[in-house]
Amino acid sequence: MKKALSLILVLILSLSLIVTGCSSSTSKGSQGDAEQAPENDIKVGFVYVGPAGDMGWSWAHDQGRLYLEEKLGVVTMYKESVPEGPDVEKVLNDMIDLGANVIFTTSYGFMDYTEKVAKENPDIKFLHCSGYKQLDNMSNYFGRMIEPRYLSGIVAGMKTETDIIGYVAAFPLPEVIRGINAFALGVQSVNPDAVVKVKWVNSWYDPAREKDAAIALLDEGADVIAQHADTPGPQQAAEERGKWSIGYNADMSEMAPNAYMTAPVWNWGAYYVEQVQAVIDGTWESSSVWLGMKDGVVDLAPLTKNAPEGAQEAVDKAKEEIINGTLQIFAGPLKDQTGTVRVPEGTVMTDDEVWSMDWFVEGVEGEIN
C-alpha cells in the first residue's frame, strides 16, 4: 500500500516537473492570428538566451518580434532560456522542422551553432545578433548602444551633485567597457569634474548582487547610479536611498518612480520588419551591420520628471549631432586611466577599435581584471 502511494507521489512530482518545464519553454508565437492570414509562407523563428519576460535583453528582442507580427502579419515562433551550448542546434533544427525560414539568434554564444546549422540549410536565412560571423545565408547585426549611453551620461553628469556617478557593470567584456567609456565621455561633456565609479557584478542576472553593488557605490558617495546589467536591482537601491538612477534595456520607472531618470533602450522592431520584408520581396542579402540611433535600433527612453533641468535640450542637441555625424563619441584626444594618450587629437577611433576596446578612458574609476 505504502509502496503504491509513494510511487504515485513520485509520479506526480515528476509529472509536474515535466509540465512546468515544458510550458515555460515551448511557448509558441501567436499562431492564432488566423483572421490576419499571411499571404506568404514566411515563418520567423527567434531564439532567446533568457526568459522573454525578463524586462531585459531577451524582452527587448521579444518586443521586436511582437512588432514584426503586428506590422507584417507573419507567423513567428520563439524559444526562450536557451543555454549557450549544443542545445542551440537542436532548437534551430526543431524550428526548421516547424517550417521556419528566417531565424534570429539573439545571443553572442549562439554564433558558432548558428553558423553550423546555416551551412547545413542554405535555403534558410539566419540573422545572428552581437557576433561577427557571416555566410551567404547568415547575417550578423548589433546596435551601437554607445550612442544612447553617451546621451544618458549627459543626463547623469548634469544631475550629480557629489560628482561621483556609480556604474553597476556585468562583466569586463569589450561590449560593457565601451559602454562605460561612452557613458563617461557623455558625463564629461557636461561635467568635466565628475568621475564614474565602476563595480563588476560578474553576472548578467542577479538582482540581489546588482543591488549590493549599487549600495556599495552609494556608500562611497555616488548620487547617480547607472547600470549595464539586466535587472532593476540597482534602480531599487537608488530609490531607497533617495538618489537617482539610469536604467537599461527598458523603461524602469515603475520600479523606481522617484529615482529613475531615463534608460538607453533597444528597439529591434524596425530592423526585424525591414529584414523580413526583404525576405518576402526576395531582395534579402546577408550583411554585417552595427546599427545606431539613426536606424532606430537604439535610443534613449523619454526623460522623467527626475531628470535635471536643461537635460532634454542637451540630449536632443547631442542626439541630432550624433545622427548627422558631427559628434563623434570616440574622437581624440582621449586619454586612458593612467593619463596616456590613446587616441591623438584630430583622429577618431575606427569601428573595429571601438568594437574591441579593452581600456577605460580617464575619469573612470575601476579596474579591468
Binding site: K3, L9, V10, P51, D54, N202, I215, T231, N369
Partner: protein
C-alpha cells in the same frame, strides 16, 4: 568608520535570507533529515510571498503565504522521506529542481511588476528607539527592517528551544538516535514531520525576504544559489542556531565585500571572494574531522531513514 558601519549594516541585511534558510535547515537536520531542497523551497516562498503581496497588499499575509509555500515543498519531502523512506539526498535534489521550475512557471506573469507602495513602506528600516542610538552597535544592528529583527529573535528562540527545553532535547535525540528516542516514547514521525515543515517554512521566509524586502521584485531564480550557501552554513554553524547567526552575517559580508574592495586597488579577484564561503566550509569540515570534536559532529542519524522494525 562611516564606511565600516555601512558595510557591517549591509552585511546583516545580505545575511538575513541566509539566516532564515540556515535556521530552517538546522532544525530539519536536527530531526535527522537532510533536505537539500533549500534552494527550491526558498524560490517557492519567494514567488508565493510576492504573489500574495501583489494581490492583497498585506505584509503579514504575504509573509505567511511564503512560509506556507516553503512548508508545502517541505511537506512533499517529508511524506517521501519520512513515511516512504526514500533516499533523502535524491528527494531533496528533486525538490530543488521542482521548486526552481515551479517558481519560474508561476512567476512568469510577475516579472517586471512592482510591489504595492504600502508593502515597501512597511518593510522600510525601523530604528529601534534607544538601542539604535548606541554608537556603532546601534546603526549596525538596530536600524533595519523588522524581518531582520525577526531573524535575531528566531535564532535565539531556536537556540533556547534546542538546548533548554524538553522538546528540544527530544528533537536532538530523534536526530542522534531515533531508536532510543522511540524507546523513550517520543513520537518519531511526528517530530520529523513538524520540524521538516517548520524548516521549510523558514526557508520560504528566507526566499520571501529577497523578493519582498531585499530586491524587491520578482526575477526568475532570484535566490541565485543562496540555498546552497545555506546548506554549507549549517555545517559551518555546527547545527547550532547561535553560530548560524554569526555565520550568516559573516557569509553575507563575504557576499558583498567584493564590491567594497573593488576600486580600492587591493589585488584580489572577485572570483576568489565568491569562492570563500565554500572554502571556509570545507576548512571547517577538515578541522572538525581532525579534532574529532563531538560539538561539531552532525546529528548521528542524519540521512538515515528510521525503520522501527529494524531496531
Amino acid at each position: 568608520m562611516g564606511l565600516t558601519i555601512s558595510f557591517l549594516a549591509a552585511a546583516i541585511v545580505a545575511g538575513t535570507p541566509l539566516l532564515f534558510a540556515t535556521l530552517g535547515e538546522i532544525i530539519t537536520e536536527r530531526a535527522g533529515n537532510l533536505n537539500l531542497g533549500v534552494e527550491g523551497m526558498m524560490l517557492m516562498g519567494a514567488v508565493m510571498g510576492f504573489q500574495v503581496g501583489m494581490d492583497t497588499g498585506n505584509p503579514f499575509l504575504s509573509v505567511l503565504a511564503a512560509m506556507m509555500a516553503g512548508a508545502l515543498g517541505a511537506g512533499i519531502f517529508a511524506i517521501l522521506t519520512v513515511s516512504f523512506r526514500t533516499n533523502q539526498v535524491v528527494t531533496g535534489l528533486a525538490l530543488t529542481t521542482f521548486g526552481t521550475g515551479f517558481s519560474g512557471f508561476w512567476g512568469k506573469q510577475l516579472v517586471g511588476q512592482s510591489i504595492p507602495q504600502n508593502l515597501k513602506t512597511f518593510f522600510k528600516p525601523f530604528p529601534i528607539p534607544g538601542l539604535s542610538d548606541i554608537p556603532f552597535i546601534g546603526p549596525v544592528f538596530f536600524n533595519h527592517d523588522w524581518l531582520v529583527y525577526l531573524g535575531y529573535i528566531t535564532a535565539i528562540f531556536l537556540g533556547i528551544y534546542l538546548y533548554r527545553t524538553r522538546r528540544g532535547l527530544n528533537l536532538r535525540a530523534v536526530g542522534e538516535n531515533p531508536a532510543a528516542a522511540d524507546a523513550a516514547s517520543v513520537n518519531i514521525n511526528l517530530y520529523k514531520y513538524l520540524h521538516i515543515l517548520l524548516g521549510g517554512a523558514l526557508c520560504g521566509l528566507g526566499g520571501a525576504y529577497l523578493s519582498l524586502v531585499y530586491v524587491p521584485s520578482w526575477q526568475e531564480n532570484i535566490t541565485a544559489g543562496r540555498g546552497w550557501i545555506a546548506v554549507a552554513l549549517v555545517i559551518f554553524a555546527a547545527w547550532n542556531p547561535y553560530k548560524a547567526l554569526l555565520g550568516s552575517y559573516l557569509f553575507g559580508g563575504l557576499d558583498i565585500i567584493g564590491f567594497r574592495i573593488q576600486g580600492t586597488g587591493f589585488p584580489i579577484s572577485q572570483y576568489f571572494i565568491d569562492m570563500l564561503p565554500y572554502a571556509v566550509t570545507i576548512l571547517v569540515l577538515v578541522v572538525v574531522s581532525l579534532k574529532k570534536s563531538r560539538a561539531y559532529a552532525p546529528p548521528k542519524a542524519l540521512g538515515i531513514p528510521y525503520f522501527r522494525e529494524e531496531r
